[in-house]
C-alpha cells in the first residue's frame, strides 16, 4: 500500500495511473464478493432444500427466534451502512474528520449488532435450542426444528464471523485516520472496506426474513 501518492493522478507499477488502479481495485473486490455470494449461497441452498421439505418444522423453529431483536439488528446494520456510505462521500471531499466520525459510529453499530447476537445465542443455549448433543425439543417436528436451529447458527454464525472481520477492517481505517494519512490516500481503502461492509449488510438483509419471518 503506497503511503502517499507520488503525484496527483500517477500511481506505481503495475498500474498506469490512479484511475486505472481504482478500476482494478474495484474489480478485485467485486470478484472477492462474488466468491462470498457463493460461500453464503451454499448455506442458503441448504436452507432452501430443508425448508422446502420441512415447512412446519421451519415455521416452528422460526417462532423461537426473537423478532424484536432481529428487526432492531436489521435497522442497526442498515444505519451502519448509511454511516459508511456518508463517510465515503465525506472523504471524496477531503473531510477526514467527518469520515472518522462516520466510521466510528458504524463501528459502534456493528458492535451493537454483535452484542445483540451474542445475547440471542445465550438465550438459545438456555433454551437447549443449540445444534449438537445439548439440543432438546418436544413435539412432532423436533428433528426438523433441530435442522432449522442448525442452519440458524451456521448462517448467522458465518455472518457474525464476517461482521468481526468487518469491525477489524473499520478499525484499520480508523487507525489510518489516527495516523494522519492524507485524504487522497484514504479514498481507496475506504471504498474497498465500504464495499465489504455493505455486502455483509446485504447478507443479513436476506438472512433476516428467511430465518425470523416464517409464517408469523
Amino acid at each position: 500500500m503506497t503511503e502517499i501518492l507520488p503525484a496527483a493522478g500517477t500511481a506505481e507499477m503495475p498500474f498506469s495511473d490512479v484511475a486505472q488502479r481504482s478500476r482494478a481495485q474495484h474489480l478485485g473486490m467485486w470478484t472477492f464478493l462474488a466468491t462470498e455470494i457463493l460461500f453464503f449461497g451454499g448455506l442458503f441452498t441448504c436452507y432452501a432444500i430443508y425448508r422446502w421439505h420441512y415447512p412446519e418444522g421451519f415455521a416452528e423453529g422460526s417462532h423461537h427466534l426473537d423478532l424484536m431483536i432481529g428487526t432492531i439488528n436489521t435497522g442497526v446494520l442498515l444505519t451502519s451502512s448509511l454511516c459508511v456510505a456518508l463517510g465515503d462521500h465525506a472523504i471524496k471531499l477531503g473531510a477526514r474528520r467527518t469520515l472518522g466520525w462516520c466510521l466510528a459510529v458504524a463501528w459502534l453499530l456493528g458492535a451493537v449488532f454483535l452484542a445483540l447476537k451474542g445475547h440471542e445465542y445465550a438465550v438459545k443455549f438456555h433454551e437447549h435450542l443449540v445444534p449438537g448433543p445439548l439440543f432438546e425439543a418436544q413435539g412432532a417436528h423436533a428433528a426438523e426444528v433441530e435442522m432449522f436451529i442448525f442452519l440458524y447458527f451456521a448462517m448467522t454464525g458465518l455472518h457474525a464471523a464476517h461482521m468481526i472481520a468487518g469491525l477489524g477492517a473499520l478499525g484499520w481505517l480508523l487507525w489510518l485516520i489516527a495516523r494522519r494519512r492524507p485524504a487522497e490516500a484514504l479514498h481507496a481503502p475506504v471504498a474497498m472496506v465500504g464495499l465489504y461492509w455493505h455486502f455483509v449488510d446485504v447478507v443479513w438483509v436476506f438472512l433476516f426474513p428467511l430465518l425470523y419471518l416464517i409464517r408469523r
Binding site: 478500476r23 441452498t45 471524496k92
Partner: protein
Amino acid sequence: MNAAGEKTEAGPTRRTLVGVYAALIALLALTVGAAWLPLHAWAVPVALAIAGAKTALVFLFFMQVRYQRGLVPLFAVAGFYWLALIGALTFADYLTRG
C-alpha cells in the same frame, strides 16, 4: 470535484444516500408487516422480492454500482448468476425425483 479541486468520479449525493436509507427502512417495515399477512404460497416470493429490492438499493447507491460503467456492474451480478446455477441444478435433482 474534491477539496483539492481535482476531478473525481461521480457518486451519490448526501441527499441521495439518506433517501435510499429511508427507503431501506420503509422496506424493512414492509417485510416485517408482510409476515403477518396470509400470503400462503406467496410468502417466500414476497419476502425475497423485498430483500431483493433492498439489495438492489444497497448495490446501486451504497456500493455505487449505479455510478460505474463497464465491468463493475457485470462483476456485481456475476456471483448471483453462479448462485442461480447452483440453485437450479440442485433443485433440478430434487424436483425430478420420482
